[in-house]
Symmetry: C2
Subunit: 346 residues, 2 copies
Amino acid sequence: MPNRIAALYGDYSGPEMMRAGLAVLKAVSQKNGFEYQIEAYPFGGEAIDQVGEPLPEQTLAGCQAADAILLSAIGGPKWSVGGQSPEAGLLKIRQALGLFANIRPTHIDQAIIDQSPVKASVLENTDFVIVRELTSGIYFGQPREEEIDQALDTTIYRRAEVERIVRVAFEYAKGRQQHLTVVDKANVLATSRMWRAIVKEVQPAYPEVEVDYMYVDAASMKIIAEPSFFDVIVTDNLFGDILSDEAAVLPGSLGMIPSISQGASGKALYEPIHGSAPTLANQDRINPISMIRSVSLMLRYSFKRTDLADQIEAAIAKTLSQGVMTADIGGQAKTSEMVSKIIQNL
Amino acid sequence: MPNRIAALYGDYSGPEMMRAGLAVLKAVSQKNGFEYQIEAYPFGGEAIDQVGEPLPEQTLAGCQAADAILLSAIGGPKWSVGGQSPEAGLLKIRQALGLFANIRPTHIDQAIIDQSPVKASVLENTDFVIVRELTSGIYFGQPREEEIDQALDTTIYRRAEVERIVRVAFEYAKGRQQHLTVVDKANVLATSRMWRAIVKEVQPAYPEVEVDYMYVDAASMKIIAEPSFFDVIVTDNLFGDILSDEAAVLPGSLGMIPSISQGASGKALYEPIHGSAPTLANQDRINPISMIRSVSLMLRYSFKRTDLADQIEAAIAKTLSQGVMTADIGGQAKTSEMVSKIIQNL
Ligand SMILES: CC(C)[C@H](C(=O)O)[C@@H](O)C(=O)O
Ligand SMILES: CC(C)[C@H](C(=O)O)[C@@H](O)C(=O)O
């Protein structure tokens, strides 16, 4: 039975991004004998237009049946924020599929280091991963209230929710440089103090991993001032949202960065970290690398095809070193040229 | 009656910092005929050692009676975090004195621009202020619970709390470049949606101020990627904590940056943004500028002595341009040398 991949083409630049990713998937698979089957489903703004909600039942069912999910990017000026918004679909799919761990790699491509707002000397040896809790915390905590005279949001963490994300982070740290930084606000928040307690309980199972604790305000400085300090960061949903986007400025373009949202079953959703770039749509200008890297991560983690993932990564590096780059990373290549070149370099 | 200033000398490097600030205050006052009276009170770790709590009643009463408060820095490895910690004293004094608005300027000193992790080209025209709500939100919201199986924190904002901080921010924007950015997470949080509604109510009173809205994750990118975009940022207690520390990496050293925590009555507390630097204490090595600038802000805002504040700022700029700098900003000067030079340059 071939591997089943659900493809959510998304809005504005989303479809172009998805086509780029799938073209590279096709090429690398034909070369190496990887069998798969793509099923496309509406999601986000497109789904709101078609059926009035961002995550239609049929899309959710398709994602549940799939072995892995590829998402490009959703949302844009056509749809409102809040209520039946494209973004609400993101929160729903994360929760419905139990995708509790968001993995955000920060990797510096030497070929585009000049694009970074941060000095090359500061970026030296920077390579870290943020493990963000994705299905709890203030994003989902009840009560949430808007009254006449006050408004209220609730951060709740249940012990089991913290334990599973902390384990994911320790596993990543074990497979990397064995350094885990727990980011919280334990000098103020009760939830942070529970996180620290649970880290201390899990820690003995990972004696090789060195653990340190950092307040979120200090972390927000260190990510820019000394990014090479970090190997794996684990943090809650809200802090992870802020810090992972902050870290995304380091490589020099959001167009380079993929992400994983993974669940307990091993099922995962792969997507670029950036949005649907409405102003670039349909002009053959979007950087396809974030999507192609999402495909590569999918091959590596969901389908255990490290060989194919390595080939894609090598082809991207070669393409960049040949100076074939879209405008966001300082070049003049069109999306289609980058995709052809990457396929040629496979 | 002379102007009454409460001085909280603090821990580790705190007393050195305070002495530096007061030496400059004395010099500039003698030159210009400014009369004042200093009353020192224990606060933070020192107060815990003396009377068992970080904010003794007598200290609070002294601060209440004073026209302005100077604080150096508190805390350090000697005292625990949480419970009767020095930091708990900070939260208490803010609330007890009603210091609801924390003003954090981000100003780039050209003389030390090489110290910044961010490229000089990115820092061009960067000069903004973060207005952080300081006495509400998740820092003070109830319930806060740590149970066996879960923990919980609550973000609450009352309408009046938001309105007063928003007004402070509009006032700052009016006196600067008339550009206010409201930072929140309105696509998720009910409190953020209330903030936006209140901004829209207050806005008509400030027709000259242009207002935009930005999610906190996007803001955490833009502060590094394009800091010159901002003029005044207004945000809640937690987001302000994170973003103002993030912004503090831009100038190149925390040792340069003062802050104001102001209340409704016009009373305010002035302090460097950095901690007590335990490893530098008593070695004549700490950068005194953050404290001297706190004094300058006090003269400007609490005592309306713009002339004295301007003289201090000019003396600091001249001293830096003469290459007299402490180690944190790339020089070899001792604290005492910098202080003498600044006084000489007055
Ligand atoms: C769209 C928004 C709700 C979402 C989040 O905050 O989780 C986005 O910022 C992200 O990080 O994927
Ligand atoms: C010490 C801590 C509670 C405090 C805060 O988070 O407000 C500090 O980080 C600050 O910003 O002054």
